[in-house]
């Protein structure tokens, strides 16, 4: 069984330390939710794990199945099985979703191997049907002119096609109305399974009533300050983050 291990991770951007020693292990098949107020360092942690060049890891380690990935470029980490669902996915003008995914899958093949186009489209359409995405969608340029909901659905489709071992989902619920939220959550639930570990970053408990996590962690000021099961999310919802902060202060 695969595991993604984040060990005492410290991350800085510029001169500022944002993540101040986070440890977290995600096993395949598990969903971990990380909750916390704005600026707690949740997204920074996810981007650093994915290898974003602006986020410098100053201490600790990230390991897949016991092997450190810190020496790897972001694309190597991706091919190793890390997928980051972006909060704000970039536009790629002129490149269709179909061609983008094809290039991403091609990049995973050995030199000289060529993707089988008809098998690829068959699989793509299968995943789109599963996620209830209109087929016309794939001929549109990646994220160009997409609504908030379309961008997130495109991220889920990419995740479905690339079949990562670990998905880091950064505020997947932000900017979604209730219908879009349901569609995206349904998608994630379809992809959920014994071979996939998910790290779900969110402000709100709302998402967690659609995607039920196995573990919930509260992150404040660059540290995980409290962990529990799904009931912790409900408690946070009713009592707010101040409750955890107060508890921390008295401890």
């Amino acid at each position: 069984m695969s595991s993604l291990e984040i060990k005492n991770l410290h991350v800085s951007t510029g001169d500022k330390e944002i993540v101040k020693g986070v440890s977290l292990t995600i096993n395949a098949g598990e969903i971990h939710a990380v909750m916390g107020p704005n600026g707690a360092g949740k997204s920074t942690m996810a981007k650093a794990v994915a290898g974003h060049p602006d986020y410098v890891i100053t201490g600790g380690d990230v390991l897949i199945d016991g092997k450190s990935i810190l020496e790897q470029e972001s694309d190597e980490r991706a091919r190793e099985g890390i997928f980051l669902a972006f909060q704000y996915p970039s536009e790629i003008p002129g490149v269709s979703i179909a061609n983008f995914l094809r290039a991403a899958l091609q990049a995973r093949m050995a030199e000289g191997e060529e993707i089988d186009a008809s098998a690829y489209y068959k699989r793509l359409y299968q995943k789109m049907d599963m996620l209830k995405i209109d087929r016309k969608f794939t001929s549109r340029s990646v994220n160009e002119g997409f609504s908030g909901g379309e961008k997130k659905r495109s991220e889920i489709l990419q995740m479905a096609m690339l079949e990562p071992k670990f998905a880091l989902m950064d505020e997947t619920d932000s900017g979604l109305d209730i219908d879009a939220l349901r569609i995206v959550s349904d998608g994630v639930n379809q992809l959920r399974g014994p071979d996939l570990g998910i790290l779900l970053i969110t402000h709100y408990q709302r998402l967690l009533s659609y995607i039920v996590p196995d573990h919930v962690h509260v992150m404040i000021d660059g540290r995980i300050v409290k962990s529990g099961d799904k009931s912790l999310a409900l408690e946070l919802e009713s009592r707010g983050y101040d409750w955890v902060k107060d508890e921390l202060a008295t401890a």
């Binding site: 974003h52 980051l84 003008p93 290039a103 899958l105």
Partner: protein, 478 residues
């Protein structure tokens, strides 16, 4: 005629220039039967004319052109000062192994044949071309037209042969679209031109497959000056493609062609260039078409490589309802300057012109767009649409746009749009996060940027263009 000298280097100072032209970066040591020596004067011109056994009028034409060339200053008051580094005394103006091109590849000398095989020309000919001419330094080594096309009366040969065998057509159109004195480099070409294609398509003949010419520079310190003249008679149609490469030398190489097109009433000419010059080539080319009534001339111009390219394909819209179009893609990598654009001269009512230019600047690369659109006061119902888009990859690169639109009179529709966009670090990270390498990510961005234009190309050429971009972008990752 001896062994191969591969000039591919193992250590590459500039990662871009070392890798990008790898497919064309090889040369053979040749013995030339005809060599005009180094430098340019009246004797050089006489030598070329004598070797070709030319008629007195053409010899005189060349000598006059030489005087024009010598009397003109370099256009550095508006163009790059880099032109001053060309040493015209150090260049060899004519090198050939003989003047008669072979009709089958088997007759072509082994090393020349091998050159073109490495560039994939015979294979393309078999696959999708109606005829091929392969020029090696100053003269065509191979020239062939499929029998079915020749039977329709289509003439396809190099300019040396054209002058000799069809002087009545050649002389009528030659130098009329681009006069000797058009600019310093058209004068230079007129003095020392050699090779290039001569094509005549008879009335009503629609050539179903493209004719192709390939221009290969093999020698160091060499100047290639091909001269192409294409005449499409009334109602005929032609697609012509040209490709070019040269090995990477430490010294500058000069390529200065003149291309003249004439589309008679109702004719259609599509002229496609995919150049992939190595980074030492000065590519200073004059291209212009003359469009008669209801005819159409379309230039598709892809400029990859070279040290400096100056090229502004143009159309003179002389007949009513004539149409002109320039589609230009330029990729300026580290150490390269692509100075490209278009000229549209409206000279009749209801004429239409379209210019779409897309440039990509990478690293220290510089892309410049220069456009001229001229619509005089006495005309009615003319239309021009110009669109210039620039893509910058990293902050050191530079792009400039110099559109000059002169429109007189009230009954015209003119549109000009320009945009500059950047490939951001965030966009590259997004693509890398999906598993693409940095080079693949940049290449995909560039291909996306030109996608709407590349789709208009014949399939084989859009595939070739994509391959060249992939090579360039792979090489540009530091």
């Amino acid at each position: 005629m001896q062994e191969t000298t591969d000039t591919l280097e193992t250590t590459i100072e500039n990662p871009v220039s070392g890798i990008d032209q790898s497919s064309g970066n090889f040369k053979y040591d040749m013995t030339y039967d005809f060599d005009a020596g180094t430098g340019l004067n009246e004797r050089t011109v006489d030598y070329i004319s004598s070797v070709k056994k030319e008629a007195p009028w053409i010899r005189e034409f060349r000598q006059n052109a030489l005087k024009t060339f010598e009397s003109r200053p370099l256009p550095t008051h508006w163009a790059s000062k880099d032109l001053e580094t060309i040493n015209f005394d150090k260049i060899r103006y004519y090198l050939s192994q003989g003047l008669k091109p072979k009709r089958t590849w088997d007759e072509v000398p082994a090393d020349i044949k091998q050159t073109f095989e490495r560039l994939g020309i015979p294979e393309q000919e078999r696959k999708f071309l109606a005829g091929v001419e392969a020029q090696f330094d100053s003269e065509a080594a191979y020239s062939n037209i499929k029998e079915a096309v020749a039977k329709q009366g289509v003439i396809f040969m190099n300019s040396t042969e054209g002058l000799r065998e069809h002087p009545e057509i050649f002389r009528k159109f030659f130098g009329k679209v681009i006069p000797t004195g058009d600019n310093k480099f058209s004068a230079l070409n007129s003095a020392v031109f050699s090779g290039g294609s001569f094509i005549y398509v008879p009335p009503g003949v629609k050539v179903s497959h493209p004719l192709q010419a390939y221009f290969r520079i093999n020698a160091e310190n060499f100047g290639q000056f091909e001269r192409t003249l294409i005449i499409c008679d009334e109602g005929s149609e032609l697609t012509y493609m040209e490709g070019c490469t040269a090995p990477k030398f430490s010294t500058a190489t000069l390529h200065s062609a003149v291309v003249e097109l004439v589309a008679l009433k109702g004719a259609k000419i599509q002229y496609i260039t995919v150049q992939n010059w190595s980074s030492n080539v000065f590519n200073l080319v004059t291209k212009r078409g003359l469009a008669h009534e209801e005819s159409e001339i379309k230039w598709i111009d892809c400029n990859i490589g070279s040290r400096l390219t100056m090229k502004y394909p143009g159309v003179v819209l002389r007949g009513r309802k004539a149409r002109g179009e320039v589609i230009s893609i330029a990729l300026a990598n580290d150490g390269q300057h692509q100075d490209t654009g278009a000229k549209m001269v409206h000279a009749a009512d209801e004429t239409t012109s379209t210019v779409v230019s897309k440039s990509i600047s990478v690293g220290q690369g510089r892309a410049t767009y220069r456009g001229v659109v001229h619509i005089p006061k006495n005309l009615k119902g003319c239309k021009n649409n110009t669109e210039c888009d620039a893509l910058l990859i990293n902050t050191n690169s530079r792009t400039d746009t110099y559109p000059a639109i002169t429109v007189r009179g009230d009954h015209h529709a003119v549109q000009h749009e320009a945009s500059v966009s950047k490939v951001s670090a965030e966009q590259i990270f997004y693509m890398q996060q999906r598993g693409l390498t940095e080079g693949q990510a940049m290449s995909l961005s560039v291909n996306g940027f030109i996608n709407d234009l590349a789709r208009q190309f014949p399939m084989e050429y859009s595939v070739e263009l994509k391959r060249l971009i992939d090579l360039e972008m792979e090489g540009s990752v530091g």
